[in-house]
């Protein structure tokens, strides 16, 4: 059991892997910016300004203001999750990038950690693209909202690590659809994103907060963007830090078991 949570052997060389992924990202910059730019605008118009017309207020705020933080949160989740499932799997299995790197002084722990750091960075990038757009529509309170950017790193890292666990155990690339459709999609809809968790029965609420990482992200981002910051946020952040540490260790150890026979 302990071997699944063993401490990895990591040096600052991790950054070299991060830089490799950054360099690839930079070569295809325009197309990388498109999804985080366009998707939230579409949701904002369809749900916020469209459907939102039929909704007066949710928890005392207009519907657009209610979903705006969710759109950023969801984008952080997608960024980390897809980078470290499909993205990492392609690099590992099809492009053999990991094999090439571990022939150098880097080890597999560092390769995986570098991938996770990059996934977290994608979360930050997405948040940095979406926040200004939402601000144009007056949906963010400053300066509190600026904290969303560094927070996106933790959120992105958490989902990158979760994703990497699935990448480590998936038999093939198609099977990554299971966590995507059975975990990420429900989370996308039921984490207090488009309707408040308080609509759900109390037990369901408790369960949601206990097991849905996105629910915590949404609470924190919503509170930052509305400028009302309460001490209870520390609990959400503590939950995320604990969960991230666990999945961070687990993902690296699972990957080692997969790659080193």
């Amino acid at each position: 059991m302990m071997s699944y949570f063993a401490l990895p052997d990591i040096t600052p060389r991790v950054l070299k892997v991060w830089m490799r992924n950054r360099d690839v990202f930079m070569t295809t910059l325009t197309v990388n910016f498109l999804p985080p730019l366009v998707e939230p605008i579409l949701y904002l118009f369809a749900l916020g300004f469209g459907l939102g017309n039929y909704i007066n207020e949710i928890e005392g705020v207009p519907y657009t203001k209610f979903i705006a933080p969710a759109l950023i949160s969801v984008s952080m989740m997608f960024a980390g999750f897809y980078e470290c499932t499909f993205g990492s799997y392609v690099r590992m299995y099809y492009q053999k990038t990991f094999d090439a790197i571990i022939a150098t002084p880097l080890n597999i722990d560092e390769v995986i950690a570098g991938e996770l750091l990059w996934g977290a960075t994608r979360g930050v990038i997405n948040a940095s693209i979406i926040l200004p757009i939402l601000s144009i529509f007056g949906l963010a309170v400053y300066p509190h909202s600026l904290l969303v950017i560094p927070f996106a790193f933790l959120a992105g890292l958490m989902f990158s690590c979760i994703a990497m666990c699935f990448t480590a155990i998936t038999p093939n690339i198609n099977s990554l659809t299971y966590p995507s459709i059975l975990l990420i999609t429900p989370m996308f809809l039921f984490s207090g994103t488009f309707f408040p968790l308080s609509l759900l029965p109390e037990t369901v609420q408790t369960i949601a907060l206990a097991i849905l990482p996105l629910a915590h992200i949404v609470i924190v981002v919503r509170s930052l963007m509305s400028g009302i910051i309460e001490a209870s946020l520390l609990l959400n952040i503590a939950w995320m830090l604990g969960a991230t540490l666990l999945v961070f260790l687990l993902s690296i150890n699972l990957m080692k078991k997969r790659l080193i026979v």
Partner: protein, 251 residues
Amino acid sequence: MCVSSRRSSLKVFDMDVTRDQRKIKNLMGVVPQENNLDIDFSVYKNLYVYSRYFDIPKRKAEKRINELLDFVQLNEKKDTMTDLLSGGMKRRLILARALVNEPRLLILDEPTVGLDPQSRHVMWDKLRSLKKQGVTIVMTTHYLEEAAQLCDRLVIMDYGNILVEGSPSSIIKEYIGTDIVEAENTPEVIACLEKSNAMYEQAGDMVQIYTNDPHDITEHLFSECRLGKITARAATLEDVFLKLTGRKLRE
């Protein structure tokens, strides 16, 4: 690098592979059998990104990369994306990549598999010149001509066991002799060969006679055995390999 054996130990440059893996990998270059170039990068960028893994300072890396691109004759393809390169160019780029850290030990897994004759000879030239520079090269190959061309020391392995070890020429001499005479495989020829105590092997419709003196044996065969067609040629590593491992397909 993967070391799984618990009973035995492996040392490279007097360093233990489990303990000093980073140091060893710093002195080592690897050319894997499967191309694993970064398809997202140009030729130059592939080498540059790789040099970063070795903590080579930028200036030094740029200089080294230009030298290497000249060495493997890819300078004109500097800015080409790697998936547009030919098979031979990809192998040469991988060789260059394995050399960015100026390794003392170069490990090659089937370096010329699938290459056309020209590309293969260019690769051989490069490997020979590296050998001259004092780089230790360890390679696996199933092209026995390649082994004969490049290797000072050769090990023939079958199902994980070492069958022979030595220089290519000494192995050929020891197991075959200098030459091979091939004749048609007929009962008369076999009977005649048996009578004259020749070393021979049947291979399909041919019979191969191992010898150090092809003139003598052909003359003998012509006069004594009334042979039809006969060819004599120099013995090769392939003959040794087939003799030692048999002619059955291994699947």
